[in-house]
């Protein structure tokens, strides 16, 4: 059972180095190398989570068989589920099944996990992507406006509001949003998800509050970071003075010169936060009754459905690792110093 698995891994490695050779460009080599490392990280996470789940107390087979089952029935079920094998063997069994496209089935509902994920992943991805875009769409213009006149009325207002929002945990914010927009104003639904297939507008309305709950604290954090970085660049960098001495106006100096340079620091922060954003969906989906991966993970964890938990955690990890991979590659694309390598 071990052999094909290792083969698979080896082949993945081969493919990436082949990719590197095929394209002479340093960027493609970088992409190939980083992709290979990312796959290794996700694989390592799967092993770690598997080990943690295996170490969890409780007898899944006995729970599954029910209260009145005989010892024999429980043993049968244990064999059926493959739980009679040692954990290492079980892990490689699971891994080889994964490479065949079989993610196993839920211990509770018996449904294939791939089907469950296919239903739920789009919901979570929609929340994460929208929250990501919205947080940046708020943070970037607000930070630039605030940095235009540091210490001015707008800047001070932004600092106070963002500090307040940063201090509020997103689940508290979620409940406040529900109270205001769903209960008092009756503008938006408190719970429930309308799939995209039923129209884009109803879909967007249904995700507005959860997206807001995820995006607002993030936007506050990004705003503070970016504003601080912009002010720092504006005050300390000589090329800002060069730009001003050319006759460039304040907005041009901010966007073309300061923001361009602050965007690298911003990129790092955004990459680091994506893992947190994805993790945040677990609570937010629960509060707003979104049929997403987060709820699936939570229910799986509460009911001891370890195959479900394993797959959910791996997907979350893969999203976080993938986001950081994209961020790293963005550096290479955006920063000429990395793009061309140093002298």
């Amino acid at each position: 059972m071990t052999a094909p698995t290792l083969n698979q891994v080896a082949r993945t490695g081969e493919r990436s180095s082949f990719l590197g050779r095929a394209s002479g460009s340093p960027l493609m080599r970088l992409v190939a190398r980083r992709l290979f490392v990312s796959i290794l990280i996700v694989w390592a996470i799967s092993a770690l989570v598997f080990a943690m789940l295996a170490a969890m107390p409780g007898d899944v087979a006995r729970n599954q068989a029910g209260m009145g089952a005989s010892e024999e029935q429980v043993d049968d079920l244990r064999r059926q589920l493959g739980l009679d094998q040692p954990p290492v063997a079980r892990y490689f069994l699971w891994l080889s099944a994964v490479f065949r496209g079989d993610f196993g089935s839920s211990l509770i509902s018996g449904q294939p996990i791939s089907t469950l994920v296919a239903e739920r992943l789009p919901v979570t991805m929609e929340l994460v992507l929208l929250a990501f875009v919205v947080s940046l769409a708020i943070a970037i213009p607000v930070a630039v406006l605030a940095a235009r006149k540091p210490g001015g009325i707008f800047d001070r207002g932004v600092m106070v509001v963002s500090m307040t929002l940063l201090a509020v945990p997103n689940y508290v914010l979620a409940l406040l949003l529900v109270v205001v927009f769903a209960v008092l104003l009756r503008m938006l639904p408190a719970i429930g998800y309308v799939p995209l297939s039923e129209g884009i507008i109803p879909n967007l309305i249904s995700v507005t509050l959860p997206v807001a709950a995820l995006a607002i604290p993030l936007a506050a954090f990004y705003t503070r970071f970016l504003r601080g970085d912009l002010v720092e660049v504006m005050n300390s960098q000589d090329y800002v003075e060069t730009a001003r001495s050319k006759g460039a106006g304040p907005w041009r100096v901010l966007w073309q010169h300061a923001f361009r340079n602050s965007s690298f620091g911003m990129l790092t922060i955004v990459g680091l936060n994506i893992g947190g954003l994805v993790g945040g969906t677990v609570i937010i989906e629960q509060i707003f009754a979104m049929p997403g991966l987060g709820v699936m993970l939570l229910q799986g964890a509460l009911s001891g459905d370890s195959p479900v938990v394993l797959v959910c955690v791996i997907i979350f990890a893969a999203v976080a690792v993938g986001a950081n991979l994209v961020v790293d590659l963005m550096y290479a694309v955006l920063d000429p110093r990395i793009r061309y390598g140093s002298h």
């Binding site: 960098q237 000589d238 090329y239 003075e241 060069t242 730009a243 001003r244 001495s245 050319k246 006759g247 460039a248 106006g249 073309q256 010169h257 361009r260 340079n261 955006l334 920063d335 000429p336 110093r337 061309y340 140093s342 002298h343």
Partner: protein, 356 residues
């Protein structure tokens, strides 16, 4: 250059001053500290094609004084006096009008070319930006002009360098790019703020020769800021020495080096290392520290470090007075005008050649 849009019309050429500064003062207000008197009454003129060197140590107010002209100082700076570009008053000008002057009529080259170019923008884009700010021309013409400027500053392989980034260039090449940026709109006044300080000696000479050559061809008035009196001796027509935000000596380069009068200028000259002096000879230095500009002394600012100081120096500040036409200094006890020229052997030169 028919597309140029000069905001300040140059009247009849000749001896008229391009830039005329009169009694310029800059005071920085500071939170929780007494105000800082950075520049205390500065007056000078620069004519087209001429070079004025403003010499002084760190904190003497030389950089602040030129930034005041360009409106590049923070709002905490209170600027008074007058600075006229031809007939246009620069002090107190609103920011929008100032932006049309900056980079167009007055341009500046900064000290450290490694820091004064934007690392994320290509050389071409940074020159193009300066061109576009003041010339209403199309994209293609902007690019052509940028390449033309790179050739003007004698950057080898200009077409290729156009697409490169600052980190791909050497220090000297970067400073050439900075000069290209400064010359984008054919300025009347070019301010070189320690423009060669961060460069090695060979590159420094090349950049200075380039500036002199471009000045001859374009007729630009140059204000060169430096702490290096030897550099001024080689490349400036006039030298103005500043101490504690005031001018202590101001003369034509030749005259100044022939008969230095102010003890501070003399001390600066003695601090220049010289060929012909045995190695390991200790250089003369100026003891003490520059004056604290938050409490301006009653008398002469230099007296605490001056060998000639007397009681008068402590109570009355000497005024900058003309001792002969074109030569002025501010001192109660000046050094002797002629005779003692032991300190005047300064390095290679072009403009001050015959005297050294």
């Amino acid at each position: 250059m028919s597309t140029m849009t000069p905001t300040v019309a140059a009247p009849d050429k000749g001896s008229q001053a391009v830039l005329k500064v009169k009694d310029l003062r800059v005071v920085f207000s500071r939170a929780g500290a007494p105000p800082l008197h950075a520049v205390n009454g500065l007056s000078y003129e620069v004519r087209a094609g001429r070079t004025l060197a403003i010499i002084g140590e760190s904190g003497s107010g030389k950089s602040v004084s030129v930034r005041a002209l360009m409106g590049l100082l923070p709002p905490s700076a209170n600027i008074t006096g007058s600075a006229k570009l031809f007939d246009t008053e620069l002090i107190g000008m609103n920011e929008k009008a100032m932006r049309r002057i900056r980079g167009n009529d007055i341009a500046m080259v900064f000290q450290d070319p490694a820091r004064s170019l934007n690392p994320t923008m290509s050389v071409g884009a940074q020159i193009g930006e300066a061109v576009r700010m003041h010339l209403r021309i199309g994209r293609k013409e902007v690019a052509d002009r940028a390449v033309e400027l790179l050739k003007l500053v004698r950057l080898p392989a200009a077409e290729r360098r156009y697409h490169e980034y600052p980190h791909q260039l050497s220090g000297g090449m970067r400073q050439r790019v900075m000069i290209a940026i400064a010359l984008a709109a054919n300025p009347k006044v070019l301010i070189a703020d320690e423009a060669t300080t961060a460069l090695d000696v060979t590159t420094q000479a090349q950049i200075m020769e380039l500036l002199v050559d471009l000045q001859d061809r374009l007729g630009t008035a140059v204000v060169m800021i430096s702490h290096d009196l030897a550099l001024a001796a080689s490349y400036a027509d006039d030298v103005m020495v500043m101490y504690g935000g005031k001018v202590v000596e101001h003369a034509e380069t030749k005259a100044l080096f022939r008969s230095v009068r102010h003890p501070y200028t003399r001390a600066l000259m003695e601090a220049i290392p010289q060929l012909g002096v045995p190695s390991h000879t200790t250089l003369r230095t100026i003891s003490g520290e520059p004056p604290d500009l938050s409490v301006l002394p009653l008398g002469c600012a230099f007296r605490a470090r001056c060998g000639n100081a007397s009681d008068t120096c402590a109570t009355e500040a000497p005024l900058l007075e003309e001792s002969e036409p074109g030569y002025s200094y501010a001192c109660w006890h000046p050094c002797r005008a002629e005779g003692d020229t032991s300190v005047l052997t300064v390095g290679a030169s072009t403009k001050g050649e015959d005297i050294l």
